[in-house]
């Protein structure tokens, strides 16, 4: 069993990074093409689940020492914070701001507060999925 695990674990690590990269891509694509924080977050967590399958829970939690509840809270705070920023400008809540830029290589891009909001969504989704899986997994 142990030797097999090593192969599995190594491949998993590779796949994990691929998944993470892909999920980040999906996340950023969201505003213009299908994707977004939600799907991105789910993909990331499935990557972590893969790690969980290959290693045991303890190893993963030392590899990724993350308190997922806090992650959820921070995600929510980011999302709320983005939306609430508009309160300080006395415009309706959730008013976003964006600007188009033309960058070398990447062409026309935009910088958008909505992306920040989506990042909050991303964090919450990862946090939630991992919390659920972790708590069920820890329970014997």
């Amino acid at each position: 069993m142990k030797t097999n695990d090593v192969i599995l674990q190594t491949t998993t690590k590779v796949i994990f990074f691929i998944i993470i990269l892909f999920s980040i891509h999906i996340f950023f694509a969201g505003h213009y093409a299908p994707g977004g924080g939600f799907v991105g977050g789910l993909l990331t967590s499935s990557g972590i689940v893969l790690l969980l399958l290959a290693f045991d829970l303890k190893t993963v939690s030392t590899m990724l020492p993350i308190n997922y509840t806090v992650m959820v809270a921070i995600g929510l705070l980011i999302a709320l914070g983005t939306a609430a920023g508009s309160i300080f400008f006395n415009v309706p809540f959730f008013t976003h701001a964006f600007e188009y830029f033309t960058l070398p290589l990447l062409g026309k891009q935009s910088l958008h507060t909505a992306a920040l909001f989506d990042a909050g969504v991303y964090l919450v989704v990862v946090g939630v999925t991992m919390t659920i899986i972790q708590s069920i997994g820890e329970d014997e």
Partner: protein, 494 residues
């Protein structure tokens, strides 16, 4: 501060997130939640005064024009409901300090309450029908959390039923919104009202009206959709029960009142007649249950159902008097139900049982508790000058004005059953031969009794000081009776 009306939603929301960061620090959990609620109350009062002076507050989020973004609307009705919900939450949290237990407190109990308040306040404030669904889900999900928290056998068993019913009602909510969207192509509530008026409420809209009644009726526990409520509500600990009993059904009632005064006003001969018949049957069902059980929790729980019937009866009359009565009664019921649940919580803590037949003679050892309970009971039954009276009087009057003689007389007669059911608690628990009681230590007793008593005090002030409330109540009823101001505030112009 054009975002002021969002504060009652965002403040508890924000603080709930903060609380997630350190779940085990109980002192901070308690302090922050009380501070959060107090802040919320302060901002709600500011908002209420603003609504009073400047009229309906409305904002469409994201700076989009009205039907396209999500509109939030604070009219007098919703701000009053938000205020009373916040007040109830404060007292429930205070009561929880010495009753809910450290274990629950360190597993997101306070964030759960704050999130629930977020959902409740959001549902009262939103001006978008799909957003209302989302807020419903927030408050439901927090209620799932709270009802099951602790994982006792009864809780698990009853949570399953509770969640199942709510999953069904949520699915129905979604499909009903979808039907409505198919016909009128919009989600903004003011806009829906305009569109329905344009197409003169064809039959399909009436069908959708009935579906909405069903959806909100499931939440509000009207006949014949109330069956799930009694045993589910009896499962969680008292503070949670108080919160549920005071607030959750009221959200359903509010939604019925809102949709039936804003959307479906053109076929009242059918829709409102149906609402009236169902509300009367609701009262009957509640009365039967309130008399059938010798369990203090059950008695008050069934009284929730009776009150829902009374409020909706008023709403179905569509006269200005009756609507004002309904608003009066709605707020009264939030306060008095909260108070009563906390009081019977004290009784249960003292006697160690909720079975009336095992109680007796408490008036000798706990006289203040007895008198406070009696006042609350009379308030519930609508004895003047306590809080239930003015609302009931106006509902009855409005019913007569609308020509529903029997209905109004029936409402009056139902007060007798309410009185009988709550007096039974008084007679069995406080009178009679004293039975062995658990000796509560006096500090704990005081900590439990004080919030309950103050809440009863609030309800007394609510009744005696009705004069100060009338301007607010009549503003609230005015919007229901004549929703054009609501539409104007959201869509502007027109």
């Amino acid at each position: 501060m054009i975002n002021l009306l969002l504060f009652p939603i965002l403040l508890p929301f924000f603080f709930a997130m903060i609380l997630l960061l350190f779940p085990k620090k109980l002192f901070l959990q308690r302090t922050i939640s009380i501070v959060a609620l107090a802040l919320t109350a302060v901002f709600t009062i500011i908002l209420m005064l603003k609504v009073k002076s400047d009229g309906i507050q409305a904002i469409t989020l994201g700076s989009w024009p009205a039907p396209f973004g999500i509109s939030m609307v604070s009219d007098m009705l919703s701000v009053l409901l938000v205020l009373s919900s916040t007040i109830i939450a404060i007292f429930v949290v205070w009561y929880s300090f010495s009753s809910i237990g450290k274990e629950r407190e360190s597993f997101f109990y306070y964030p759960g309450i704050l999130f629930m308040l977020t959902g409740v306040n959001g549902a009262f404030t939103t001006g978008d029908i799909f957003n209302m669904f989302v807020f419903f889900e927030v408050l439901l999900m927090s209620s799932y959390l709270l009802i099951v928290l602790g994982g006792e056998k009864v809780q698990l068993r009853e949570s399953i039923k509770y969640i199942l019913v709510n999953v069904i009602s949520s699915a129905l909510f979604v499909i009903t919104v979808a039907y409505l969207y198919s016909v009128v192509g919009t989600l903004n509530m003011a806009d829906i009202s305009v569109k329905i008026a344009q197409i003169d409420q064809p039959g399909i809209i009436t069908v959708i009206a009935v579906l909405f009644l069903v959806v909100f009726g499931l939440k509000g526990a009207i006949f014949p959709l109330f069956f799930w409520l009694p045993s589910s509500y009896a499962a969680p600990p008292i503070p949670v029960l108080a919160l549920f009993g005071a607030l959750l059904t009221k959200v359903g009632v509010y939604a019925i009142m809102r949709t039936y005064t804003l959307f479906f006003t053109l076929d009242q001969g059918f829709t409102h007649e149906l609402l009236m018949v169902l509300s009367i049957l609701t009262i009957v069902a509640g009365c039967i249950g309130a008399l059938a059980y010798f369990d203090v929790k059950k008695i008050i729980i069934y009284n929730i159902i009776i009150a829902v019937g009374v409020i909706l009866f008023g709403a179905s009359q569509m006269t200005e008097t009756a609507l004002m009565g309904s608003v009066f009664y709605l707020i009264h019921d939030i306060l008095i139900k909260g108070a009563l649940f906390l009081l019977i919580g004290v009784i249960i803590a003292i006697t160690g049982t909720s079975n009336l037949r095992k109680m007796g003679g408490l008036i000798k050892t706990y006289p203040m508790l007895g008198w406070t309970y009696l006042i609350a009971a009379f308030g519930l039954a609508g004895i003047p000058p306590l809080s239930g009276f003015v609302g009931k009087l106006l509902i009855v009057q409005g019913g007569f004005e609308a020509g529903n003689l029997w209905g109004s007389i029936f409402i009056l007669a139902s007060s007798l059953v309410v009185l009988l059911s709550v007096m039974r608690i008084f007679i069995y628990a406080f009178w009679g031969e004293p039975v062995q009681v658990i000796k509560l230590d006096s500090i704990q007793y005081r900590n439990l009794f004080t919030p309950a008593a103050i809440l009863v005090g609030f309800s007394v002030i609510y009744g005696v000081g009705s004069e100060w409330l009338v301007p607010y109540m009549s503003d609230a009823a005015e919007v229901l009776y004549n929703p054009s101001t609501y539409i104007k505030a959201v869509l502007g112009g027109a």
